[in-house]
Amino acid sequence: MIDSILTLNKIGKSYVSGDRNLEVLKDISYDIPRGQSVSIVGPSGSGKTTLLGLCAGLDRPSTGEIRLCDADIGPMSENAKAELRNKYVGFVFQNFQLIPSLTALENVMIPLELLGDKAASTISKELLDRVGLADRMDHYPTQLSGGEQQRVSIARAFSNRPQILFADEPTGNLDEDTGEKIERLLFDLNRELQTTLVIVTHDLELAAKTDRMIRLKGGRIQLDELNQNG
């Protein structure tokens, strides 16, 4: 029996647009074992971001069932899902999503502070040191470059020691060099902390570095296979 951290069972998602019913995802099912790194790829409009939102409990599926970290998130309230994310989930976004009025350190501390962790400051400083920003802790996001902002974002994502980390195009807004550095950091931390990694990306080179690749097309899974290195 596989120890799954994320299970999707016959997931469908549709939106009503005007008088039309728009089916974005159809009959999606898969299991992600703990510790695995997975990439979700596909052309624009294939439903990748919608799927990520559903997996992380940011949105509700129209049909089907999702289990995240041993919990059926379907019937859970928004607050219960928020608590679940706070404890077990990390996020990295394409546009970093740092709060401009908080310093780098304060941004990283948020998940730990929400958990009431007394060591929030120490852990966050260590993580910022780990991502190479020990000397930029008191800088505001606008005083940092894109790559630095994404490193703060990664430090924040790992600050609560998540069991699973979702990354939405984590290198999409970065140049090639910086992107590579961020990828390396992401995978290193993933291995170090035994975190499950789910990455949505266009970048097939990045996808190839994960253990498994799920390819979407027209809202359905076109391909679900383990990579050579997986």
Partner: protein, 844 residues
């Protein structure tokens, strides 16, 4: 527990980059609270002083007032009081000053006894107030002495008697009245009154009896004895105790109070709209941060608390600043209002007003901020993945509905405490809601302009207009706040203009400007001749007979007064009627029912004509019987016709009109109305008349009009000052809205400039946007003001409604220009700096 400590810290951290912008948010509520506290402080001090100063205003513990001396029965009642007594006989008369060969219409106060008992007359020399009675001298109003260059020791002639002036009168005891401004006061000892020959049959004289009771005397119990008071009412005497006086003063100022409070309420409401709109824009700018916080595990409630704490703390600081400023501003109000107050209002810090300001301020800030803040709970974390994601339409948030209900309810309760009546509070609340809805409605309708704007209109026009509908642009809020301010200002202008033009029309053209009254029958023809000799027209000459109602519709006056269900208004019953007789109606009278019988023969039924409103106040109609007591003779009459009287002309008018053939032999005096072409002619004529007929009074209507004008312009100045608060708040809402939505404007302008728009294009687009915004708001506000002033003028003030358009057009352009100026001023750096530089600095 929501980890309150961390949430507080996060709230502080999150706000630090925006505090400058949020200052604008604070300033709108600061202004509102400032107005509220200033006005409340002033009101509290006014009421406190009424309590403290009533004794000195009345001058005694009990006052009995009537148009004749006390009857033996009443004298007996009053003599049984364990009290010191004094009497003051008051009337208007001419005072002649031989030194200047001039006359002045004056108020004569003939005093018997040591009045006032409380407070004191201030005279120069100081001792004059104590010696003028014994020394047979006069105390004369200081301003009058100054005007006629009189000195103590000069003489003054009152009627037949010439007396030296014993002192200058520097103050006035007794409540202030309009009369004091155009008829200065002269004090004389009562024992000399008869020798002046001024008090004769038909003279209008007030007898005021004053009593100083011992400390432990129960005035209220004495005053509340219905049986005792009936004797006074039956003889048309009014009894006033200090307690009554307090109530009267309180009532007299409750209008001023309510008005000022309403102005404060409007300023406060605009401040609240400012809060709601600023918070709305602020929260919009925080959407992505909120979504991210939700994404990484913050609950909706926690996110809400972070922003609620920020807004509440900043709002509270705004409220505290407003309270401090308001306490300071109240010092200005007595200066503005001093001519309308009977005494000097002490300026002291009113803790009541301060705590009320803090309480109300915090409550309304919370309530109005909650409207946009509640949506924070519902921000979807999905916005982190898709910036354009719109929250799914959900059924109406019950909490939001609760907040709206709480807002309307607190407005209603606030108005209830203000007006003291549920009904008025309901009407005001409904009125304000309607005004808001009209403004919002027009803001909504403005979308039609966009829809129907011809496509071939220029790029600048289309863009300027489109900008109004930019998301987060707060067009509706701005139209409401600027529109409401405009409405108040315009309403004040229109109503003030109407009052002034109605007053001025009395003085215009061929309207009379001089009235002679107190003419005895044998003097009538001589004075008419004297008038014609002075080449002045005799515009009206009418006889006046004073009489009292004895009974009507078959019931005696006593019966009517005891009937608690009757709709009869007491002032009509108690007032001594001044009646004239003639054979026809005059041009300013319109018959509305029946026919006017101009002349009757002895023994015929007497049909009289009544003013329609007066008849309604007495609850009588066509054919009803009224019995009059004319100096002891009872005359039965019947209502033969009802008239409407034009009250705007400066002529004598009579509610009750008798036909010829009834009153010719009754004791009477005459009034003559004339018009003098100049002040000099008037002064000469007046002097000649008073010299020949000392008992005749000559009233200069021009000076009454000047006094009225003066008072109205002072009131309107106060009103404008207060309306300024509202306008200022509206403009602050505009500035804060512009500042908070600046980044969006910058991005659009940068985009336009990047794709080739010139600086002038951007300037024109922005100017068009603000001009449209200002025009919509001002036009809607003016429309509301016109409708509102029409109702106030015709329903409340009974004035003829007319509009002078130029000031209104002026207000319209003023508001539009201010809007455009403030708008462009706040976006000037977009034009003056390079697009990239602006974008970089703004995103930082």
């Amino acid at each position: 527990m929501d980890r309150l400590g961390y949430l507080l810290r996060l709230a502080r951290q999150d706000s630090r980059r925006h505090r400058g912008k949020l200052f604008m948010f604070m300033s709108s509520i600061t202004l509102g609270i400032m107005a509220l506290v200033a006005i409340n402080s002033f009101n509290y001090n006014l009421v406190k002083d009424i309590d403290e100063q009533t004794k000195t205003i009345l001058g005694a513990d009990i006052q009995v007032e009537g148009k004749k001396p006390l009857t033996p029965l009443l004298t007996e009642i009053m003599d049984s009081l364990p009290a010191e007594q004094a009497l003051q006989v008051e009337f208007f008369s001419m005072a002649f000053m031989p030194k200047k060969d001039a006359t002045q219409f004056s108020k004569i106060r003939a005093v018997e006894g040591d009045f006032p008992f409380y407070g004191e007359l201030v005279t120069q020399p100081k001792g004059a107030k104590d010696t003028y009675q014994a020394a047979n001298t006069l105390l004369v109003d200081d301003a009058m002495m100054f005007e006629y260059e009189l000195e103590v020791g000069d003489s003054m002639k009152l009627g037949e008697l010439t007396l030296p002036i014993g002192g200058r009168l520097m103050n006035s005891v007794g409540s202030i009245s309009l009369g004091a401004s155009f008829a200065p006061t002269v004090y004389i000892d009562k024992s000399l009154l008869e020798k002046t020959g001024l008090v004769q049959t038909g003279s209008i004289v007030e007898y005021k009896y004053f009593y100083k009771t011992p400390e432990d005397f129960d005035r209220e119990a004495w005053d509340n004895s219905a049986a005792r008071m009936q004797h006074f009412h039956a003889e048309d005497f009014r009894v006033t105790t200090i307690e009554d006086q307090k109530r009267n003063l309180g009532q007299a100022f409750s209008f001023l109070n309510s008005f000022l409070n309403l102005v404060a309420l409007v300023a406060l409401l605009l401040g609240c709209i400012g809060v709601a709109s600023s918070v709305f824009i602020y929260i919009r700018s925080k959407m992505s941060a909120i979504a991210m916080l939700r994404c990484i595990g913050m609950t909706g409630r926690q996110a809400f608390l972070v922003y609620f704490i920020q807004i509440f703390v900043l709002g509270f600081i705004g409220v505290v600043i407003g309270t401090i400023l308001g306490s300071g501003i109240q010092m200005v109000l007595p200066l503005l209002l001093k001519d309308m107050l009977p005494y000097e209002v002490d300026l002291s810090i009113s803790w009541n007003a301060i705590f009320q300001g803090l309480g109300i301020g915090s409550l309304v800030t919370c309530l109005f901020a909650l409207v946009p803040l509640l949506s924070v709970r519902k921000v979807s974390p999905l916005k982190t993945l898709r910036a354009g994601y719109e929250d799914e339409a959900s059924p109406r948030d019950p909490l939001k509905i609760l907040v709206y209900v709480a807002i309307v309810l607190s407005l209603f309760i606030f108005l209830r405490t203000l007006t003291g009546e549920w009904r008025s509070a309901g009407i005001f609340t409904a009125g304000l809601l309607v005004a808001f809805m009209v403004l919002y409605g027009f803001a909504g309708l403005s979308i039609l302009i966009k829809k129907f704007l011809p496509r071939n209109w220029g790029f600048v026009w289309r863009h300027g207009l489109a900008n109004l509908y930019r998301p987060n642009n707060q067009t509706n809020t701005l139209i409401v706040s600027i529109g409401l301010g405009t409405a108040i200002l315009t309403l004040l202008y229109i109503v003030q203009g109407l009052i002034l033009s109605n007053v001025n029309s009395m003085d215009a053209g061929n309207q009379p400007n001089m009235i002679l009254y107190g003419i005895e029958t044998h003097q009538k023809d001589k004075i008419a001749m004297m008038t014609e000799k002075a080449t002045l027209p005799v515009i009206q000459q009418v006889p006046i007979v004073t009489m009292r109602l004895e009974s009507w519709k078959g019931r005696s006056k006593k019966d009517w007064l005891q009937d608690t269900t009757s709709r009869v208004e007491r002032w009509v019953v108690h007032r001594e009627a001044r009646v004239t007789y003639r054979d026809s109606l005059e041009f300013d009278e319109t018959l509305v029912e029946g026919t006017y019988t101009g002349k009757i023969n002895p023994g015929d039924t007497v049909f009289i004509s009544l003013d329609r409103g007066w008849a309604a106040s007495l609850d009588v109609g066509m054919g009803d019987e009224l019995v009059w007591n004319v100096q002891g003779t009872l005359i039965p009459t019947y209502v033969g016709s009802l008239r409407d009287i034009e009250f705007r002309s400066m002529r004598t008018r009579f509610f009750i009109l008798f036909p010829e053939g009834v009153l010719e032999e009754a004791p009477q005096f005459h009034v003559l109305v004339t018009k003098s072409p100049s002040k000099e002619v008037m002064a000469d004529y007046r002097r000649d008349v008073v010299k020949a007929f000392p008992n005749v009074s000559v009233v200069d209507l021009g000076s009454i009009l000047t006094t009225l004008n003066d008072i109205i312009s002072k009131i309107s100045y106060v009103i404008k000052f207060m309306a300024g608060f509202s306008i200022l708040t509206g403009l602050i809402v505009l500035i804060s809205s512009l500042l908070l939505s600046k980044f969006q404007r910058v991005k659009e302008s940068v985009l336009l400039r990047t794709i080739g728009a010139k600086r002038s294009h951007i300037l024109k687009i922005n100017a068009t946007e603000y001009a449209l915004l200002g025009s919509l708001a001002a036009a809607t506000g003016i429309l509301i003001a016109i409708i509102g002033s029409y109702f106030i003028a015709t329903q409340q003030l009974d004035l003829e409604f007319s509009l002078s358009w130029w000031p209104i057009v002026g207000i319209f352009f003023l508001i539009v220009s201010l809007t455009v100026f403030i708008g462009l001023f706040n976006t000037r750096d977009i034009l003056n700096r390079s697009p990239l530089e602006v974008l970089r600095s703004e995103s930082a």
